[in-house]
Amino acid sequence: MSFLSDIGHLLLTADLWRATLEAAVLLLLPALGGVISERSGVVNIAMEGMMLTGAFFTVVADLAWHNPWLAALVGIIAGGLMALIHAVVSIRFRADQIVSGIAINIFAAGLTLFLVNRIYGLQDVGHVGQSALLPYINIPLLDQIPFLGRVVFQQNVVVYAALILLVVVQVVLFQTRLGLRIRAVGEHPQAADTAGINVYAIRYGAVITSGLLSGLAGAFLAIGISNTFVPNMTDGRGYIALAAMIFGKWRPLGAFVACLIFGLGQAIYDNNSIIHVSQYLLSMLPYILTLIVLAGLVGRSIPPAADGVPYSPGTE
């Protein structure tokens, strides 16, 4: 039973859990975006494309200006602009939101590949210098806590930001007026409209926010976790985030738990050198878990009632 003992050893190392949290955050940001978008009633499967676009433009900006903060901001805005396309198509033109989402994902993959060749030629994009990366910051004192300090408080700045965002989104959605309105729009837009709430404004805001968060995840991936842009570097993480959102029953904290589970799979996969199980098997894990959840085996996950339904007011 060497496999089990290997896994056992692995699970006791702080570095594994540190890697888990890092991988989880990369999923959490787009998952939070998905939660916000879908809570407002717009199905969003385009986090993958928004992330990828965000990653690309982050690197472009960083190579140009050597400023990671500015670069991340550019990435965030790029993600937001992709989301704006999705918002216009699905809110203004009431198109099928799945189709729009798929289109954006394909468009993002093509656009970034095209621009990579266009801007950098067929060679490498080039590496972002060490000083121009999003920094890892040790929180003074807290990072000295045994085990936990290494896992939580010696992380990239984006990880801290994501954890704060998690709490913010959870509170905003379920404890504030804005959250009540977002959920109202996602459950019953007509009711929200007749209560004097601007359905379109809420939906645009929610979809664009999902793009901003996905863009941030892209920036984190490109100049936090790695230091370059590689075509299709998001590698399906936007879809796993989607799965996490469903797994988490359209709740931020639930999605975070799902991200941790998927992140653990990712971390074990990355540490594959110590354990002897096929990395392909491990990489299937999130999808298998998602299928199990979708099949309703772990408690039914019910989306907002008006999720994916375009709103057109006042017609009889």
Partner: protein, 513 residues
């Protein structure tokens, strides 16, 4: 009936016109409502009542016309403006979010906010308590809205409107979903509101209720106002005539039934709802040739599941259904149909028709395999189908430009007539009619009722399920009351409405089983 406390005009609408491609929904409509009155707005489906009220509430923008609130011209660009002007609307389909609490629903759009931008539940609770006390509308602010009975949901809607400070309340078909008891309670509430100085516009097509509750009546037909009536000087027949544009028969004309042998027997039938919870808990009854058995009940007490099981579109979990001496319990829709059971489903657009198919194709749905319409079940006999369709369109007075028109483009009444024609023309032994006149105008109701009675007179056993107690009482020869999946009682046709209402809500009888 209260006399208006003042003669001042709360609302005036002048020359309101709204056209959509192909239809003029409102054609120079004038409406004048006095402060402190209950003003009924009546008309058939599609007469333009809802359009007019949606314009008043800012959901639709008129092409022309002006609106005066308390004598002052008003610009209403959206619900927000309407709310600001003291207009509140209780919609026919409630604008409530089932997963929210009553408090959240009431507050939505004008939520009290505590420090830090957090939603202030305590304050919300207090404000609702105050409102409900003032208007005598008992309501639990923390209840999950979707769990409440319809009457209470409507109450939440009214409280929601009052919370927004409405002086002019629009109630769109408020009694459509209520039991007789709930309707009575609603009327008490409405009279109380008028006493508090509110003005109410009451939209309905139930003339008896209009006569009971309103002070004045505006009648609409085909987008135009066709009559202003004072309630105490008019009667049901006069309103109906104005609504339809011709004399209509409000009472169903029928001979006493001559029931024959028992053809259809349901024994201890059980079934589950879509959510997997028991919906039928042992239903038994007998149906004779040449009689109409009405199933009365508040919606959601198992009547939908009952018809579906009988029509073969839902599986029974226990019990038996006998057609003659044949056990048809496990028959599916096709075999039930072949055995002689015809089915008018309650969901006309979803279950009864293929909306994108032509009238002709819809008229043979379910019979497409029969030798008269197909050659060896392979090739459709198009000529025969067209002849058949032409015959039925004429016989059942289906108003359609042609038999090739898609069913989608017909009015609700004519869509329903397609189904009625198709099912009755199959010469069934048993006719299951679920909500046969739902959302259908008075003219078509009159026609469908006559056909159902004619069907009975030819010896068909008819099972009629309807949420309209009037319909049940005027058509049925016997009335079975269903409550929480049980038939609680089978009553004669002349049972007073009060008793039926009581039985429907679980009172008045010990369980039959």
């Amino acid at each position: 009936m209260s006399t208006p406390t003042s003669e001042s005009i709360a609302l005036e609408m002048h020359g309101i016109t709204k056209a959509w491609p192909g239809v003029v929904a409102n054609d120079h409509v004038d409406l004048s409502v006095r402060a402190g009155e209950i003003h009924a707005l009546v008309g058939e489906n599609g007469a333009g009542k809802s359009t007019l009220m949606n314009i008043l509430y800012g959901l639709i923008h008129p092409d022309s016309g002006e609106i005066l609130i308390n004598g002052k011209p008003a610009r209403i660009g959206g619900p927000r403006d309407a709310i600001g002007l003291g207009i509140g609307m209780v919609h026919q389909h409630f604008m409530l979010i089932p997963v929210f609490t009553v408090g959240e629903n009431v507050m939505l759009g004008r939520e009290p906010v505590a420090a830090g931008g957090l939603y202030d539940r305590t304050k919300a609770r207090k404000e609702i308590a105050e409102l409900t006390r003032r208007y005598g509308l008992a309501l639990d602010a923390d209840a999950r809205t979707g769990d409440l009975p319809v009457g209470l949901q409507q109450r939440a809607e009214i409280v929601k409107v009052l919370y927004r400070g409405a002086h002019l309340l629009i109630l769109d078909e408020p009694t459509g979903v209520l039991t007789p008891q709930e309707t009575k309670e609603l009327f008490v509430v409405l009279r109380g509101l008028v006493k508090e100085g509110k003005t109410i516009i009451f939209i309905s097509h139930k003339l008896r209720e209009v006569l009971e509750i309103s002070d004045r009546i505006t009648v609409m037909r085909r987008g135009k106002v066709v009559g202003h009536l004072v309630t105490k000087d008019t009667n049901e027949q006069e309103i109906a005539t104005a609504m339809v544009g011709r004399e209509v028969l409000l009472r169903v004309d029928k001979k006493p039934a001559a029931p024959g042998a028992v053809t259809f027997k349901v024994e201890d039938l059980t079934a589950s709802s879509d959510r997997g919870v028991p919906a039928l808990k042992g239903v038994s009854f007998e149906l004779r040739q040449g009689e109409i058995l009405g199933i009365a009940g508040v919606e959601g007490n198992g009547q939908s599941e009952l018809v579906e099981v009988l029509a073969g579109t839902r599986r029974a979990t226990g019990g038996r259904v006998l057609l003659g001496d044949k056990d048809v319990t496990t028959y599916d829709a096709r075999t039930e149909r072949d055995a002689g059971i015809a089915f008018i489903p309650e969901d006309r657009r979803g279950t009864g028709l293929v909306l994108n198919y032509s009238v002709a194709d819809n008229l043979i749905l379910g019979r497409q395999r029969s030798p008269s319409f197909s050659w060896h079940e392979l090739v459709l006999r198009l000529v025969a189908i067209r002849d058949w369709a032409k015959r039925l369109v004429k016989e059942f007075d289906i108003r359609t430009p042609s038999i090739d028109t898609a069913a989608r483009n017909l009015s609700g009444g004519n869509q329903q007539k397609i189904i009625v024609a198709r099912e009755m023309a199959s010469r069934p032994k048993v006719l299951l009619a679920a909500q046969p006149t739902r959302g259908v105008d008075i003219g078509a109701i009159e026609f469908i009722h006559r056909r159902i009675v004619a069907e009975r007179d030819e010896g068909t056993a008819v099972l009629l399920v309807s949420a309209e107690l009037d319909e049940i009482r005027s058509l049925s020869d016997r009335i079975a009351v269903i409550y929480e999946g049980h038939i609680v009682s089978i009553e004669p046709a002349n049972t007073p409405e009060e008793r039926l209402g009581l039985l429907m809500t679980g009172g008045g009888a010990e369980r039959a089983s």
